[in-house]
Structures are given as C-alpha cells and as structure tokens.
Symmetry: C2
Subunit: 359 residues, 2 copies
C-alpha cells in the first residue's frame, strides 16, 4: 500500500456536497486496497472570501503545496456575477492556485457511458464511439495577461499572450498522450486572425516533427466548435489554449450527456489538482440534487494520474458503469426511460457507488 496526503477543498455551491462523496470513495479505495490516505481541508472561492476576505487564503496555498494531490469541488457565486465591478471575486482563487502550483495542463477526458447515450441532446448514432481527451492550457492566455480599465472606465482590455515555452510544455504532454491512444492530435487555434494563435500553430507544427507517428491536424476554433457537434467521433486528443479550451470542453460535456459526469485533472510542475468541470450551481446547492459522479470520477483521475493506481481507478469507473446499468440516475442524467424510484439524490447516488464498489 502507499501513503498519500490529500487536500480537500470543497469550495462553493454544490462543491461541498459532491466532494463529500469523492472523499468517501477515496477512503473506500484506501481501505479496500490497503493504502493510507490522510486528509486536510481548506477554503477557497466565496467560502474563502466569507471567512478570511481572500478567495485563496494563504493557509490554503500552504496546505496545497504540502499535499500530494488536491480534490476540489466548485467555485463561484451569483452575487459576483451580477456585479461586474466587484474587486474581489471567487474565481480569482481558482486562477491563482492554478498559477501558483504551475498547473499548466488541464486534462478533460470526454468519456461516454453507454447507458447515457440517450441523455444527450445529440443523436446516439452521432455519439457512439466518441472518446476525446482535451489538453487545455491553464496558466496562460487572456486569463493571465495584463488587464486594464481606463480611468474614465469606458475602455477595458485583457492581453491574450503566449510564450513559446508555455505552448511547448503542454504540446509535449498532448503528443505523448496521443502516442498512447489513437495517435491523432488536433490542435485548435484562430491562426487566421490572432498572432498568439500563429505562435501556437508554429510551435505545434515544429514539435509535430518529433512525433512523426502522430497524425497532427490544425483546426480553427470556430470550425472545431462546429465539428464537435457535427461529428465528435473525428476527435481524439485535442490540444488548445486556455480560453478556447474553456469553451470547447463545456460544449463537449453535452456529449457525455451532462456536465455532472465530467472530471478534470490539472497537472504541471507539482501537486495535481482534480475537480469536476461543472460549476457551483447555486440554484440547486444544498438540496441534495447535485450529481456526485463528476467528483467521484475526479478521484479516479487522481488515483491514476497522481498516484499511478490504475486498477483502483478502473474499479471506480466500473462501479459507476454498473450503477448506471442498474438504471440509477441523478436528475441531470435521467430521461424518459428512467424508473421514477431510480432517480437518486446526491447522497443516495454516492452510497450506491460505494455499494457497487464493495461488490
């Protein structure tokens, strides 16, 4: 067995309730496979602001650096969304921790559970066989470039900027992943308009020469957003910048039937960071309605990527598969075929996964 120290950051909205079940699954795995996981907890986002005034309290950052992996919930609060002039914002916490931990590569696998083919708004025939792995750059782009507001407040700007090394390091990761998959990589940019995209494309073209066994394609973001709906099967590894990745991966969540089914891993220089791609969903927070599967799948990614525990990770996806095959659903993935008594709340779904893990 291995020994690991995990920091749990529940965050905002539905974050705490879904993370509870991610953690419960972690603990179940530890016991079943004889590993020793210790835990700590910390604040971020709106929760951080309320308690300390900061969306990323110093203590959280220290604990993050001292941990072997981080399980995160969700961030954001409607209060700030309606007030564009707020100086302190929950999201700053997430952006800052990404930067401070050097989490430059955000991996978002779009896996399709057969049982959920009907939950998508896309036709089953279009979806069948789709398996995409997104590599979204996470510490550069217009997210982190200089922001400006003129004194009269009538002009506002954000600098979209990339350095060669930033593109190189994530591109290498994506090419390596492509090698282990179907050997196809699609790099998405807007090189017909943006200088930063032209640098992006140049670097990816250069690196592609070092991976002659990988078939590399370049696509404009507008076309990619279209093709993803039209024919998602054509994609395998997709490599893209921070902003384009934010948009494309949310769009792609509809392939998996629901955002509630998608996990992501942020990796880079140090500690790995694992989180659902869904947001804080304040409209259903605290109502025992949220789908905990994305948090549980985030745990599977943690076990595989940060701890190298493939079998353990696989046991989680298998358990979820069985839960779905048995007909259980949370509200977001239920459809007309779902039996009424198999639509579960957060807690019941979490327990159901634990039960199937145990068998």
């Amino acid at each position: 067995g291995i020994k690991k120290h995990i920091l749990v950051i529940p965050g905002d909205g539905i974050g705490p309730e879904v993370t509870t079940w991610g953690k419960a699954v972690l603990e179940h795995i530890a016991q079943a496979y004889g590993h020793e996981f210790t835990y700590d907890e910390a604040l971020m986002g709106h929760a951080g602001i309320e308690a300390t005034g900061s969306p990323l309290p110093d203590e959280t950052l220290e604990k993050a650096k001292a941990s072997d992996a981080i399980l995160f919930g969700a961030i954001g609060h409607i209060k700030y969304d309606d007030d564009p002039s707020a100086k302190v914002r929950p999201e700053q916490g997430l952006l800052k921790i990404r930067k401070e931990l050097g989490l430059y590569a955000n991996l978002r696998p779009i896996m399709l559970f057969d049982e959920l083919l009907d939950a998508s708004s896309l036709k089953p025939a279009v979806l069948q066989g789709t398996d995409i792995l997104f590599f979204r750059e996470l510490t550069g782009d217009v997210y982190f470039g200089e922001k400006n507001r003129s004194e009269d407040r009538n002009t506002a700007s954000d600098l979209m900027i990339y350095h060669r090394y930033e593109v190189e390091r994530i591109a290498h990761k994506a090419f390596e992943a492509a090698r282990l998959r179907s050997k196809r990589l699609c790099s998405v940019d807007k090189a017909n308009v943006l200088e930063s995209s032209r640098l992006w494309r140049e670097v990816v073209q250069e690196l592609a020469k070092q991976y002659p066994d990988v078939e590399t394609e370049h696509m404009f973001i507008d076309n990619a957003a279209m093709q993803l709906v039209k024919n998602p099967k054509k994609f395998d590894v997709v490599l893209t910048a921070n902003l384009f990745g934010d948009i494309l991966t949310d769009e792609a969540s509809q392939i998996a039937g629901s955002m509630g089914m998608l996990a992501s891993a942020s990796i880079g220089d140090g500690t790995g960071f694992f989180e659902p791609i869904h947001g804080s969903a304040h409209d259903i927070a605290g109502q025992n309605k949220a789908n905990p599967l994305a948090s549980i799948l985030s745990v599977a990614l943690m076990l595989e990527i940060s701890f190298g525990l493939k079998e353990e990770a696989k046991s989680i996806t298998t358990a979820i598969d069985k839960v779905l095959k048995a007909g259980y659903r949370t509200g977001d993935i239920a459809d007309t075929h779902t039996e009424a008594d198999k639509v579960l709340g957060t807690e019941a779904m979490g327990k159901m996964v634990l039960q199937f893990l145990a068998t």
Copy 2:
C-alpha cells in the same frame, strides 16, 4: 420598383460558384417585382492577393463604398493556414472591409427549415421550434486590438479590448430586435475572468433599464456553448462579442443542419454586407458540390434589411422551403431518407430555387 447598385465580391474557394446563384436570384427578383438592380464585381481575399498583391484592393473598397449593398462569397486559402508566418493573408481583406465600412453588427439568424430536422446531429425534439438571432459585434475585440510579436519571435499577443460606445451601439440594435421578437435577450461574456467582459456586462446591464419590456439574461461563454447544444430553444436574441460570436454562431450552424444553410448580414454606419457564414471550403471548390442556399438566403437578408423589401425576401425563403419539401438536397444536407436522384449539385440546386420562385 426601386433602383439599387449591388457589388458582388465572389472571393475564394466555393465563393464564386455559390455567389453566381445568389446573384441569379437577385436578378430574378428584380424582374419579377419590377426593380432595377445594377451590378459590379470586385476582388478580395486570396483572389485579391493573386491579382494585385492586396487582400483588399483599393478599387474594391471604393466600389464597396459606392454601392447600396454587397453580396460576398467566402474567404481563405489552405496555403496560408499552413503557414502561420505569412505576412499577407486573405482574411485581412475581410477584416479590413468590415472596419472600413463600419460594419459593427453581424446578424446571424439561425432558422430551422422543418425538412432539415433530420440533417442535424441534434435530436429533432431538441431542435424543434428553435429560432435564434445572433448579434455578433464585428469591428472590435481581440480581432482588432494591437498585435505583437517579440523580436526573438518567442512571445506573441493580441489585445482584447472594448470601448463603451462599441458595446452600446450593438446592444441597442440587439435590444430593438428583441422588442420585435419574443422580448428575450441573452448577453454572452466571460465577466468572471475578463475585464473587457466586465465592461460589456456593465453596459448591457445599464442599457437593459431602457428596455424594461425585454427580459435580459447574462451568460458565461462556456455555459452558452454548452446550453446551445443542450437546449437551443432557450435562446432568442443572443448578443455577444466578436470572438465569442465567431465561435457560437459556427457551433449554432449545426442546429440548422449545415453551415450551408446559414446567411449573415453585417450592418452599421453605411453599406450593408451580406454573406454565407460558411468558409471557402477549398476541398470541394470548383466541383459543383457546394450548397448555394446560404448565398441565396444572404440575398433574402439583403432585400429585407438593406432595401426594406420584405415580400421579396419572403418569396425566397418560401421557394427554398418548397424545394426542400419536394425532397431536393445538396450533399451537405442529404440524409438516409433522401432519394438518390434528388441529391443536387450547386448549379442544379440554384436552378431549382429559380424554378420554384417562378411558380
């Protein structure tokens, strides 16, 4: 009857072949309704570069300013896409003419022809009843902000920038359109991260007070890209920035079954500019395969928006509706139910529309 002077800019790739049929329909309308349309032709994009070295020759711009409306085909060439360091690029022609003519508002209606419900990758039940009108800002944003490349060529940037007046003028147009439709407007931004989006949101919030009869909603771009697939019916008028609009409207094209069915109108300070939203599609250029319906629908938009000829515009969409009801399709919108002999090439489809217009 009215007298109008129309500039035709066929452009690149499939541009010339589809524009031929847009123009033929214009001429048919002129004769049928007793209007007098005169025409001129000009170069842009790759065609402009080949002939004059410039993607927007001076002569084209002069002719554009002197015309009452412009019918444009498509722009772009694969040659430049593969060469990110090319200094002169076809797309510069399109960007420059948008700026020079002050075409700050790009209207992209996503109309659904009942007959094409099956051609989409989205489920018919998800699509049914969808009717969206996009207002994409067209002369600002990261498209026109300062571009930089460091001397060592290792750093590249584009400035994402908005001025209050730029947001105001397009927002007014969108609110006015919402008033005449279902009185719902959704403004899309990334105000949780971008300063330019925070200005955007502030301005739209302020203006919304002048349109109390319009229900205004704000949505983050990642969420909008997701919702558009999940539940397109929830949108009516969508207002967004240049880059986000580029991405969202291409994605939305899949709602209409194909990019080959979508037209757009760019309006602002002077002459209106009408074009299909599809690109130059060099892979099928010159093969009599392209769908001319987007060009023909661009003509319908021109008649309605620039010339106020509603009845004439309606006769075009009605004719297209009949052509589709009769089972005729181009390759991009054909499906398993299409009879083999009803799959038409560009020319046959163009003629078919003329024939149905005449009856």
